[in-house]
């Protein structure tokens, strides 16, 4: 599985939404499925799947799929 496929799969399972709905523009709190509880599940899945440790600011800042990619980029995970 490529990194981008992995990312989409994590978002899709954590938020309980179809993979097709996972676009760069998808934002925190923009749909009922991405609420604070789901955000915690998402963070924990990202940490497990990509084997990283996110800090307080990363977790709070992760307000969209696009930003998630940037934050994972800091951990040397790239999506191109």
């Amino acid at each position: 599985m490529s990194q981008i496929e992995k990312l989409i799969s994590v978002f899709s399972t954590s938020l309980g939404i179809p993979e097709a709905a996972v676009t760069d523009d998808l934002q925190y709190n923009s749909l009922p499925e991405w609420d604070s509880t789901a955000h915690m599940v998402l963070i924990s899945e990202l940490e497990n799947q990509f084997d990283i440790m996110l800090d307080t600011d990363d977790i709070i800042d992760m307000s969209s799929v696009r930003v998630a990619k940037q934050i994972l980029g800091k951990h040397n995970i790239t999506f191109e």
């Binding site: 309980g16 499925e33 604070s36 509880t37 955000h39 915690m40 599940v41 307080t56 977790i59």
Partner: protein, 472 residues
């Protein structure tokens, strides 16, 4: 009582929110001004009931205190409650007015047409709080002025609240624990910093540092987030203590927090309570957090615990399980479901509360909860009545058994009960929306037949058994 004696704390800072801050004298003046908006037009002095739509802001606090100071009663609800919920409340309790005090100088006040104006309300009745968040029933807990005051006074005796303290009030005001944080600090003359921000928001952490917050309060879910956001890596030098109630926090999380507290010279208070007891019934001595992380400790000052067996006989020996019974001046007046219940003609119940929780005490007299007699779950701090859920599903033509534990809801569905094909994922996301609970905490099993035990009763145990065997 704390609400009638605000003036006595004079120039102490009383409340802060994003927009404004007031001393106790100013807060009292605001309440007097606010009263002009809600004062009944009739000259006859009659006790009224108001619905208060609340958020965590100064205006909501002013509205609440004003109603108490004037000797009226209030149903305290979430500002964002649905129109249906509100209409239901109006039909059921015939309130004088519905008030949103957010903009306290020009409050939003709605006088419903249906109010008869002849509501009989018991002189002691202060507030009504809902017993269930998501499954929406009319049943409310009725608390007296004395209940609110006694619990606040008792809390001040065991928590190290100081007069110069600032506490962060992030739990909702319409939730008994959130309200008790406010009441106890006003009772002491300390300061409430009100916010709608959760630990998930940058604002929450900003306020912690900027306002030099001395104490925080949270439910298990709050601490799960705080831990995940690495609370334990932060020194927060002003934070002296933090409290947890509203359900059982996992043992390993209790230990993480207890270790953090001991390393950073802070105190961690685990508490136990129910809305039926105004808010709080017990606390664990912070010195015992590390060696008794599963305990709820002992009754708060002025309260008393006992255990009774199935026959109602008192249990006197350690490690024997029974239903936890609490007595104290903070035990509610009773439940109300109709407007005529507000008169409490049968008088107040004795100060005894059968908690519905099953537990035991150890040789030191510290209590532990092991289960629950009645059928409801607490998921992410939301109370879900299993019987009510079954009924709601049945109304939609689906026969289900609802069971589970505080980690998740398990729903066994009778496949043949509906004409339509029931799809697991679809049902999950529907329930997730209906109960406002993350889908990961909802487990659905489609069965050909719902199991019945030898007594002809619903066999929840076998449902839980097969749920565990299919690998959860």
């Amino acid at each position: 009582m704390f609400f009638s004696q605000l003036e006595k704390h004079q120039t102490n800072l009383a409340v802060v929110d994003q927009q404004e801050s007031f001393t106790y004298s100013q807060l009292a003046k605001c309440c007097d001004d606010f009263y002009q908006h809600i004062r009944p037009s009739s000259s006859i002095q009659q006790k009224k009931l108001y619905v208060l739509k609340c958020g965590n802001d100064v205006g909501s606090l002013i509205a609440y205190l004003t109603v108490l100071r004037a000797g009226h009663s209030a149903i305290i609800i979430n500002r964002h409650s649905s129109k249906n919920t509100l209409q239901h409340l109006v039909n059921t309790f015939e309130p004088e007015a519905i008030i949103d005090g957010k903009n306290w100088q020009y409050p939003d006040i709605d006088f419903p047409a249906t109010t008869s104006g002849s509501l009989k309300i018991h002189t002691d009745l202060a507030i009504l709080l809902s017993t269930s968040g998501s499954t929406g029933s009319a049943k409310h807990v009725a608390l007296s002025y004395e209940n609110l005051n006694q619990n606040a006074v008792s809390i001040c005796q065991y928590l190290p609240i100081q007069i110069k303290d600032k506490t962060l009030c992030s739990l909702p005001m319409f939730y008994s624990y959130g309200l008790s944080v406010i009441n106890s600090h006003l009772s002491k003359g300390a300061c409430c910093v009100l916010t709608e921000a959760s630990p998930m928001n940058r604002e929450y952490w900003q306020i912690l540092e900027d306002e030099k917050i001395n104490s925080i309060a949270g439910v298990p879910y709050t601490y799960e987030i705080l831990l995940r956001l690495r609370l334990t890596n932060k020194a927060l030098p002003h934070l002296r203590y933090f409290t947890q109630a509203g359900g059982k926090l996992d043992k390993d999380k209790v230990l993480s927090l207890a270790n953090y507290a001991s390393e950073q010279d802070k105190q961690f208070f685990i508490m136990y309570g129910q809305t039926e007891a105004t808010a709080r019934m017990s606390y664990l001595n912070p010195a015992n957090c590390l060696n008794k992380p599963n305990s709820i400790g002992r009754a708060i000052p002025g309260g008393q615990f006992s255990l009774v067996d199935e026959k109602g006989k008192k249990i006197d020996s350690a490690h024997n399980k029974g239903e936890l019974v609490y007595s104290g001046a903070n035990v509610m007046m009773g439940y109300v479901s109709l407007s005529r219940d507000l008169a409490f003609q049968k008088g107040k119940q004795e100060n005894l509360l059968y908690t519905g929780d099953i537990g035991y005490f150890d040789e030191d007299g510290d209590f532990y909860i092991t289960g629950r007699k009645s059928r409801f779950l607490k998921l992410f701090g939301n109370r879900v009545s299993l019987d009510r859920l079954e009924q709601m599903m049945l109304e939609q033509g689906v026969n289900v058994y609802a069971c589970g534990n505080d980690q998740g809801l398990v729903l066994a569905v009778d496949k043949k009960s509906s004409d339509e094909v029931i799809e697991e994922q679809q049902l999950k996301s529907k329930l997730s929306k209906m109960l406002a609970i993350h889908h990961s905490a909802i487990h659905v099993m489609l069965l050909d037949e719902l199991p019945i035990n030898d007594n002809g009763k619903k066999d929840y145990q076998s449902v839980m058994q097969s749920f565990k065997t299919i690998g959860h």
